[in-house]
Amino acid sequence: MRIELVRRPNRSRAMAVLSPLVAIFLTVVAGFLVFSAVGVDPFRALYIYFIEPLTAWWSVEALIVKAVPIVIIAVGLSLCFYSNTWNIGAEGQLVAGAMAGSALPILFPDFQGPLVMPLMLILGIAGGMAYGAIPALLKTRFGANEILTSLMLVYVAQLMVDWLARGPWRNPAGHNFPDSRPFDGDQILPVVFGDSVRLNAVFAIVIAVIAWFVLRRTITGFQITVLGQAPRAGAFAGFSHKKMVVLAFLISGGLAGLAGICEVAGPTGMLRTSVSPGYGFTAIIVAFLGRLNPIGIIFAGLLLALSYMGGEGVQIELGMSDQITRVFQGMLLFFVLACDTFIFYRVRLVRTPAAGARAEGA
């Protein structure tokens, strides 16, 4: 007997829904085994991990706050990945956006009014776009591999913001500690819901819906999909691959920049030496977890945020190490990627010739 994969004529809709559920189920089973192995009550651990963060309002809010930047970036990346463009440097574009947007409140601290926030957001988006344009142009002009250039530029951006926050943009009234001046008044992104959910949560939903619409219902979306899945067919139809690469980087870079300025102008409230705890990288995982579907990404973003909070929960209540969280996330992703196979492929059991012959004889 041998297992073989057979391509389905069409993607399976049932499997598209089922596969993430199966993946989560497998992760829970694996988690059960891991927790049991280290001598923790697995039911309690899984409850703390996956359920408890959802049982109190403040922690649901915290969950949303954590998920929002990841979702915004992941939606942009999904467009990118759809067109088979590999932007791994969203983290750098996020930092670039945060720097560009912060320039306003830092260089003009007294500038207040209804114009401030829109300008900061526009600057943030522009910063992310500009930084995303670098690997795009290096790719289209010189053919340089975008995975690596975009990644290398992450380190450059991080060192740049480090320099700014410690050097020229350091708060003059901050005892020489490496933070910018705290933003205030109109320079802070308003809270729209509860205690801590800010305007960027609205952005995340709007962006996801628009992206979904663009991908499904417009010519551009069609071009992105075609070029991504069959570059040659796309070229025949007259779609330019180069334009698409630039467009994909501009969109994903711009959204990462937006996420960046919203973090700085939102929960952090100042420019610090490090802007994000790796949201740009987490978003790559979320984009795939949501299977590059903008609506799926919202759920995937919430799930991943949950896994971070659950990880803190098992630390606090069970005294387990935070490394469990990372192992868990890795496993979840492996399961999702493996289960996705069944959307496009059917598993067939093939009898090996010998076994077949014997069956015939009987």
């Binding site: 994969l5 290398m152 530029l153 995982i285 990372r326 890795g330 990627l337 996705d340």
Partner: protein, 306 residues
């Protein structure tokens, strides 16, 4: 002169872990598979090598353990991407995430313990030759292994039948399949080899470079190794040059600081990354060289029709 000698020695040791990881990834990519999980495999190799050294006191076993651990991690990646045809980019990233977490988890017991280190080769008489002696004959054994590995891979890829098959699989998996080669099997072996090399690179860090284990001690070297493969246009000889160049930039920026050049350290720290980008651009401009050497099926999944 002594200072020059010291700097060259330092650069060579800085280049060694990169050389290991990059030469392995080169073989993987030549077979048409892009494994972005190098960082994760290195981390697991580092902790397993360190643990084995601590438990057995046998350098050879430690080195073997590092390689085996890297290969096992790679096998995990192989199962997801080759058998379950999962997306290679995402699976590679997942492998990095998983590897960094997993290495930290199993390494808990080994934090804060000094490692045993490996003896230097130190051939008497020869290593006493001024300048050339210590550099050519006074390295640690793993550095020589890395060089041997690079030469071996070059010979294997371009002078053996098996190497030819591996390249054929990477260039056109459909025709390789129709010629009767088992694409999945070749790729799986190439992925495992890549993992073993990454594991060795990690082992070098925890056994020789700084004999200790701490989480995240790979410090992004896996990503640099990935960049080196493209930098080298998938040619082993250029990997050696690239690794040394990168080692040189990262060491010399420290010297520039120690001398006191007055440039903010953040900008000096950017140099290795900027160099990579710039070199990548320069290399990529030579389209013919790239066309000849880039594995045409890089990153594409393959499912045999029958």
């Amino acid at each position: 002169m002594e200072m020059f000698e010291g700097i060259v020695l330092t650069i060579i040791t800085a280049a060694t872990p990169l050389l290991f990881a990059a030469i392995g990834e080169l073989v993987t990519e030549r077979s048409g598979v892009l494994n972005l999980g190098v960082e994760g495999m290195m981390a697991v190799g580092a902790v397993c090598g360190f643990a084995a050294a601590h438990l057995t006191d046998q350098p050879v076993i430690a080195i073997a353990a590092a390689a085996a651990a890297g290969a096992l991690m790679a096998a995990l990646f192989g199962v997801v991407t080759l058998i379950f045809v999962g997306n290679q980019v995402a699976s590679g990233l997942a492998l990095t995430l998983f590897g960094l977490g997993f290495s930290a988890l199993i390494g808990n017991a080994y934090v804060g313990i000094p490692g045993i280190g490996l003896p230097k080769l130190d051939i008497p008489v020869l290593s006493d030759i001024p300048l050339v002696g210590p550099i050519v004959f006074g390295e640690d054994p793993l550095t020589y292994l890395a060089i041997v590995l690079a030469v071996g891979v070059w010979w294997f890829l371009f002078h053996t039948r098996a190497g030819l098959i591996l390249r054929a699989v990477g260039d056109n998996h459909v025709s390789a399949h129709s010629l009767g080669y088992n694409v999945i099997k070749v790729r799986f072996l190439a992925v495992m080899f890549g993992g073993a090399c990454a594991g060795l690179g990690g082992g070098y860090l925890s056994l020789v470079y700084t004999p200790q284990w701490t989480q995240n001690m790979t410090g992004g070297r896996g990503w640099i190794a990935l960049a080196l493969v493209v930098f080298a246009t998938w040619l082993p000889s250029r990997i050696v040059i690239g690794a040394v160049l990168f080692g040189a930039v990262s060491i010399l920026q420290l010297h520039a600081q120690a001398i006191g050049v007055g440039i903010p350290s953040q900008f000096l720290s950017m140099l290795p990354y900027l160099t990579t980008v710039i070199v990548l651009v320069i290399i990529s401009r030579d389209r013919t060289l790239l066309r000849v050497n880039t594995p045409a099926c890089l990153g594409q999944s393959f499912v045999p029709d029958r």
